[in-house]
């Protein structure tokens, strides 16, 4: 947790956007996540994207499930309503909320446990229905809040903080979203603001299901076997006491690299993650070739980042359902109640 001092996002406080707002106006409560948690970097990127897009914070609704990642919405956009619902069920809350008022922007924040395990069903169907939401999975390969169990996106060969092997292959949520027809699918890294912020902005502008799989290292529990020496001592120490309750203070991990490039990023524990950024000339409009590229990279042990797939033609849920333009939550008895006259006709039909 970044107690008392909130990290300033290295920008002059006083810059104002077209709404006349400063970045401070987009802040949330003080984060209670671990120092150096990738999720905090994502919050900062969301803040920045909203600032740059001149979004009125109160016209955003922040929705989440349960987990460290799902707490994150409390730490940005204080002027936006938030709904920290139950584990894995954010998509249904987002669906209902969106139908009630399609004029707000819906930011759905979830974790890999929240989405890939308990919530996979709702994820699948929200994607299929083209729900107009920016759906971000803050993907750390672990269950942060419940102390480091494997999530279903964890790499096959990795080990837990407790030294156990992960036995099952990862679910690639981005590939699934593409297969299911989501109209915007991207992947990025919490520490790569240069890539993440533009992708966030694009997703916020996109209509339909916008999915962002953001790799977001966990300081506390993402502890691969390849760790460098520096952390060994603490890990060993921790493993041999009954409570593994020590979390070293970490720093935000950053990475900056160009399109078409690969880079190896060291994580908190010294292990490496290989990121590969899609090249400029990649055409993200073809489902099969996107899938092939993702799967090929995976076979090579690389994580492909960038805009993986986009379809700008797709209708969103509200359009598919042919719902009126005035938000449903603003309709009143005049709009909605058919009244006595109609009721008399109905009575007649039924008699």
């Amino acid at each position: 947790m970044t107690y008392i001092v909130k990290p300033k996002n290295h920008h002059p406080d006083l810059e104002r956007n077209e709404l006349g707002l400063t970045r401070r106006d987009y802040e949330g409560s003080i984060s209670s996540l671990c120092a150096g948690c990738g999720h905090d970097s994502i919050s900062a990127a969301i803040l920045e994207a909203c600032f740059q897009l001149n979004i009125s914070a109160h016209r955003v609704a922040k929705l989440s499930g349960i987990g460290c990642s799902s707490k994150a919405p409390a730490y940005f956009l204080n002027q936006a309503h938030g709904f920290n619902s139950v584990h894995g069920r954010m998509p249904s809350i987002a669906t209902g909320a969106n139908l009630a008022n399609h004029e707000l922007m819906y930011l759905g924040i979830s974790g890999d446990g929240d989405t890939a395990s308990i919530g996979i069903g709702q994820f699948v169907h929200a994607a299929r229905r083209q729900l107009n939401v920016v759906y971000i999975v803050e993907n750390n390969g672990t269950y942060g809040l419940t102390k480091g169990q494997f999530s279903a996106t964890n790499d096959l060969e990795s080990k837990s903080k407790y030294g156990e092997d992960n036995l099952f292959p990862p679910i690639d949520l981005a590939a699934m979203a593409i297969q299911l027809g989501a109209s915007f699918v991207a992947r990025s890294f919490s520490g790569d603001k240069n890539q993440l912020i533009p992708l966030l902005k694009a997703s916020m502008k996109h209509k339909g299901f916008s999915f962002l799989d953001v790799i977001s290292p966990c300081v506390a529990f993402n502890n691969h076997s390849t760790s460098t020496k520096s952390y060994d001592y603490i890990r060993e120490h921790n493993e041999s006491v009954s409570e593994t309750d020590f979390v070293p203070l970490g720093k935000e991990i950053t990475a900056s690299y160009d399109e078409g490039e690969s880079v190896q990023v060291p994580l908190h524990d010294g292990s490496l993650i290989s990121l590969e950024k899609l090249s400029k000339d990649f055409d993200p409009s073809n489902k099969s070739s996107s899938l092939a590229k993702i799967n090929k990279a995976e076979e090579e042990g690389k994580v492909l980042t960038g805009l993986l797939y986009i379809n700008t033609e797709a209708k969103d849920l509200k359009e598919i359902l042919n719902v009126v333009d005035k938000p449903l939550n603003q309709l009143n008895e005049k709009d909605l109640c058919p009244g006595t006259k109609k009721l008399k006709e109905i009575n007649k039909d039924l008699s």
Partner: protein, 609 residues
């Protein structure tokens, strides 16, 4: 051979094969009686299957207005050789059996009257397409019945014309089928049936509709705009009714767009989640389900309770536990709804007893949900939900406005110093809420299922949380004054004995009370319509020495609620329990009560008959 002689008081039961199109014809038959001015209660007893299994359609006709189910059949229309034996057994002595005598056969009983109609033969002669022939057989027996019962055939001709409006070419063959039956009967079956339907005026001001249709319409009138549901018998037809009525009543003229959104969700968890999301965002939203769905929804029900999000849930109860008897009726979700979800939770239940109340409670539920900011569960059941009931016409007051409860809009917020989402400003336990997007600087808060303080801030301070939990109890207390009160069968109490009942049991209760009266037993009766119970409920209990509680479940769940919430002496409360999946009968109720009063030692008259 004796013949039952009766006018406007009898039971006719159709035995068919599922998937043969009989339900529509049987329903039309019942509607014809209703149009003749005589109250009817048709009950479709169908299997959990699509084609080929036995299915029954039982119609009670009662000018007196006794519309509960009753044992024994006066006329059996036995169209299914699979169930001949069973069907035969049920016929009252002196009753009638009508069967398809294309294949003649002997029946073992000699105390009943056999009426033969060669239905298949008649159809083969008149209809060439073998597929449609099957369908028309059903209409043919309706025609024959209209003659046998001495009814006005025109009523059915009108009904056919209404039914096939817009598909006029279907009218002629149907009317032809009707006449085939009518004519055959008039030529061959004169005097063979002494049960008659005489025109009456008793259905004036009444309608014939199902609880689910009425509830769906109630949701339209109550201002629901979002419906998220997952198919499950017997709740499906409620969502379908909402869909149908919305398509008719809720299209924006200029744009042809929908003033509603209906989603068939991927499961019950998603369905209730969507309804919660929409209500949170200020729209009126509901879901409809049955027992298994309630179980699946319990986590979310707890969230809505604790985060205080309005919500309307219909539970159309069926035979439990587990998948149970999906096409049979029960009242066995009382406890699981009242206390749904882990932790200390209590939910508001509304319990309608007839389609008119289904309509009213559905509409009312949205006001209540918004006012109390909590889930409102409407407990109906298969019998009430899926069968057509003769009931008073729907009424509506055009001056009624939707009460959205304590909502602060932008203007209100401007005037407020210190908005606290969970502050008990008015001392009634009900706080104020805001809709997302209401104001650029004020009123935003974080909704959560985790412990929170008056300002919706996360807290792990147990005392703060306990304060919040206690306020929720106070709110619950407030709710007891808002929900519909009980209905009494008498103007003033006149007996030390009372009976408590609820829901679809109403159909049999007055008949049971009248039967007991004939035996010289007088009881005061109270119908509970909502939980939490309000003062009138407690007073009635207080005022009587012994009370029966009639329930269609095994465990006496309403009795548990009454005891637990009211601190009632258990010995005072005697259960009358029917849980065989058939609607409870007046005979069952009166027999159990009478034998208890006149000396049976058993404290709990339970049993599945």
């Amino acid at each position: 051979m004796t013949q039952i002689v009766s006018t406007n008081e009898f039971v006719i039961k159709f035995a068919n094969v599922n998937g043969s199109g009989s339900a529509s014809a049987n329903q039309m038959f019942a509607k014809g009686i209703f149009r003749s001015g005589v109250p009817v209660s048709p009950k479709n007893i169908f299997p959990s299957n699509i084609q080929g299994l036995p299915t029954w359609f039982e119609v009670r006709i009662s000018e007196k207005g006794y519309l509960g189910r009753t044992e024994g059949v006066d006329i059996a229309v036995a169209m299914n050789p699979q169930s001949y034996n069973e069907d035969l057994r049920e016929i009252n002595s002196g009753g009638y059996l009508i069967y398809d005598s294309s294949w003649k056969r002997d029946f073992e009983r000699t105390d009943i009257n056999i009426i033969e109609i060669p239905l298949t033969k008649l159809c083969v002669e008149e209809f060439s397409n073998p597929k449609t022939r099957l369908l028309f057989k059903n209409i043919v027996y309706v025609g024959a019945l209209s003659y046998l019962l001495g009814m006005d055939k025109e009523i059915y001709e009108t009904l056919i014309a209404e039914q096939f409006k817009g598909k006029e070419k279907l009218i002629a063959p149907n009317i032809k089928a009707l006449n085939i039956g009518y004519d055959y009967a008039s030529e061959n079956l004169k005097g063979s049936c002494e049960i008659k339907v005489n025109k009456s005026e008793k259905t004036k001001g009444m309608i014939l509709t199902s609880g689910n249709d009425a509830s769906g319409l109630g949701c339209v009138y109550g201002g629901a705009t979002v419906c998220a549901w997952y198919p499950i018998t017997p709740s499906t037809s409620l969502a379908e009714a909402f869909t149908d009525y919305s398509e008719k009543l809720r299209i924006e003229e200029e744009t042809n767009k929908n003033k509603y959104a209906i989603i068939q969700a991927e499961d019950e968890l998603a369905a209730i989640g969507m309804a919660i999301g929409a209500n949170w965002n200020g729209a009126r939203a509901f879901t409809a389900t049955s027992g298994p769905g309630i179980s699946l929804m319990s986590e979310f029900l707890g969230l809505a309770y604790f985060a205080e999000v309005p919500l309307v849930v219909f539970d159309i109860q069926r035979g439990g536990p587990s998948t149970g008897m999906p096409t049979r009726t029960q009242q066995s979700d009382v406890l699981s709804c009242a206390y749904a979800s882990h932790g200390d939770t209590k939910h508001v239940l509304l319990i309608p007893s007839n389609p008119k109340e289904c309509f009213e409670f559905a509409a009312e539920a949205f006001d209540l949900a918004d006012r109390i900011q909590t889930p409102i569960i409407i407990l109906s059941d298969l019998d009430l939900g899926m069968n057509d009931w003769s009931c008073p016409e729907f009424e509506w007051d055009d001056s009624k406005t939707y009460d959205k409860g304590k909502v602060l809009h932008a203007k209100d917020l401007e005037e407020i110093e210190n908005f606290g989402r969970y502050l008990d400003v008015d001392g009634d336990g009900i706080p104020y809420r805001t809709y997302p997007g209401a104001h650029s600087e004020k009123g935003a808060y974080f909704t959560r299922g985790t412990s929170h303080d008056e300002y919706a801030r996360y807290t792990e301070d147990g005392v703060v949380n306990a304060r919040n939990l206690s306020r929720l109890l106070k709110k619950y207390q407030t709710a007891s004054d808002m929900v519909p009160g009980p209905i009494f069968n008498q103007e003033t109490n006149s007996s030390p004995l009372g009976v408590i009942y609820f829901g679809s049991t109403e159909a049999s209760m007055q008949e049971a009370l009248d039967k007991l009266h004939e035996e010289g037993i007088v009881l005061d009766a109270m119908r509970i319509r909502a939980f939490p119970f309000n003062l009138e409920v407690w007073e009635f209990i207080e005022d009587h020495d012994l009370l029966f509680i009639v329930e269609q479940n095994r465990d006496g769940q309403m009795r548990t609620l009454v005891m637990a919430e009211g601190g009632i002496i258990p010995d005072k409360l005697v259960s009358i329990l029917c849980f065989d999946g058939q609607p409870i009968t007046a005979d069952f109720i009166s027999n159990k009560m009478s034998s208890h009063i006149t000396g049976s030692p058993s404290k709990s008259a339970s049993g599945g008959k």
